[in-house]
């Protein structure tokens, strides 16, 4: 059976045989870089189309259905439109920061790709503090938004950026605490260790109710962290027209747009890794026969299936719920999510010590 890890192994062996180790590493980095960028582009196209189709079907509409078969090339056409559109910079804007902001948002999203295991033994960088790395880097994304909001010289943008600052910083807490619950159970911060620890069942099943609570808190917190509805106060089109990216147009806007979707993908991938076993197929304890059958499905399909399921759930939120108000948003975090996830972490720790989980 083919697997992605075999392909990477072949490429690495060939590079090491042909060039000296330094050049081989450089070439590997280049290949990875190209792969990440193309993955970015493809993810952007797929997720935008998916969002439009999901929203359309929930709203009893058809959605894009003109460009290509069943409208499949709609997002491609949109990209071309955005590429040829003029990227305006407002007169009073801070030009450097204004133009830098989309790239900051983009680079943060790219950095977050590093520790994600897309398939069995197919990971860019299996660093031993993977979870910590993710929560550290993802908080940098607020800087891109603050930069955009400040540099635009627009009051709506400023308000949106300030809202987003308060929001992302608060929701980091409960996202981190929920991730910590799994770290406590696994005893490791490394992404691959966490996945291998779920070989006999995913944590959401093994960890009883506290793990489910941690999962729900995690989903809510990351929805807020990625500025998705119902927590899209930074954009809030009916209040702040478009929030922090009011003044952006053309490709600079597209980069923000893309970064949002890639961020959604990444947080869902992390959620899938932590709670749903990443690329690990659906295994039940000691049922060897069943587990063996499950192994026939390639690990990359498991990973993308779980991730896209979580993305769908987040989209489902977006197209069902109204937006919260800024004070309610912070209330939800500080009065509900944070206490719940703290008590939950306590429970999970006790459970991990007493070995009550499966």
């Amino acid at each position: 059976m083919w697997s992605l890890s075999k392909i990477t192994d072949t490429i690495q062996n060939w590079l090491n045989q042909t060039f000296n180790p330094t050049w081989a590493l450089i070439f590997e980095m280049l290949i990875v870089g190209v792969c990440v960028i193309s993955l970015f582009a493809i993810l952007g196209l797929i997720l935008v189309l998916m969002e439009r189709k999901v929203s359309a079907w929930m709203q009893i509409r058809l959605g894009p259905n003109r460009v290509g078969p069943k409208g499949m090339f709609q997002s491609l056409a949109d990209t071309v439109k955005l590429l040829v559109k003029e990227g305006l910079t407002p007169g009073g804007a801070d030009k450097l920061l204004f133009n830098l902001a989309p790239f900051v948002a983009m680079i943060v999203a790219m950095l977050l790709m590093a520790p994600i295991a897309f398939a069995k033994d197919f990971q860019m960088w299996d660093l031993n503090i993977g979870v910590l790395y993710v929560s550290a880097i993802s908080s940098v994304s607020v800087i891109g938004i603050l930069m955009a909001g400040w540099a635009s010289n627009n009051k709506y943008s400023l308000l949106g950026a300030m809202r987003s600052g308060a929001q992302i910083v608060s929701y980091e807490l409960s996202a981190g605490l929920s991730a910590l619950a799994i770290v406590v159970l696994t005893g490791s911060l490394s992404v691959s260790d966490i996945i291998y620890s779920q070989a006999d069942g995913w944590w959401i099943f093994k960890g009883h109710i506290p793990a489910i609570i941690a999962f729900v808190t995690f989903i809510i917190a990351v929805t807020a962290e990625t500025n998705r509805a119902p927590f899209d106060l930074a954009e809030a089109e009916s209040e702040l027209t478009a929030g922090f990216h009011t003044e952006y147009s053309g490709m600079k806007f597209a980069l923000f747009f893309l970064a949002e979707y890639v961020n959604v993908f990444i947080v869902c991938a992390i959620g899938a890794t932590l709670f749903l076993g990443g690329w690990m197929p659906f295994h039940i304890g000691n049922w060897q026969g069943f587990n063996h059958v499950m192994d026939f499905i390639p690990s990359s399909i498991w990973f993308f299936g779980k991730t896209f399921f979580l993305i769908f759930v987040i989209m489902w939120f977006r197209w069902t719920f109204p937006r919260l108000r800024i004070d309610q948003l912070l209330n939800l975090e500080w009065k509900y999510l944070l206490p719940i996830s703290m008590i939950n972490l306590l429970l999970i720790t006790a459970m991990a010590i007493l070995k009550w989980h499966f």
């Binding site: 079907w57 009893i60 509409r61 489902w316 069902t320 719920f321």
Partner: protein
Amino acid sequence: MFIVKYIKEVWGAVRSLLKGMRMTGYYFTHHKEIITQQYPDNKAILNLPERFKGEVVMPHNENNEHACTGCTACELACPNGTIKVITKFEIMPDGKKKKAIDKLVYHLELCTMCNLCIIACPTDAIKMAQTFEHSVFDRNQLTKILNNPGSKIREGVE
């Protein structure tokens, strides 16, 4: 009990959210509920009701005859100055002069489809057509002359 109240509150909130998600989830999976009409594609089956007010037209019969006597009732009834009746005098075979329309100018760009001219017309010479695609490249094309060139008033219409 504070804790019980707290948990009840959280549970009630989550339940209300799930209810909404069930609703959207239902429509997500039931595609036959989709109500979109794909407009230019469904032109063949697009039936507009006969009362639909699209634009004012003047029906002519096969002999290129209409029923307009040029009484200017429509012009007077129109609140926007949409209709302009230009009359001329035709010399009848018996030598009498008779008033008839030369042109009935209709400014579609001013028309609000209020139907007042149709009601005012004593001879039912004009009626509303069911067309609705009025966009043109030049505004002047919206000024129409309703009577066909060379048309005459139908026999017996006074």
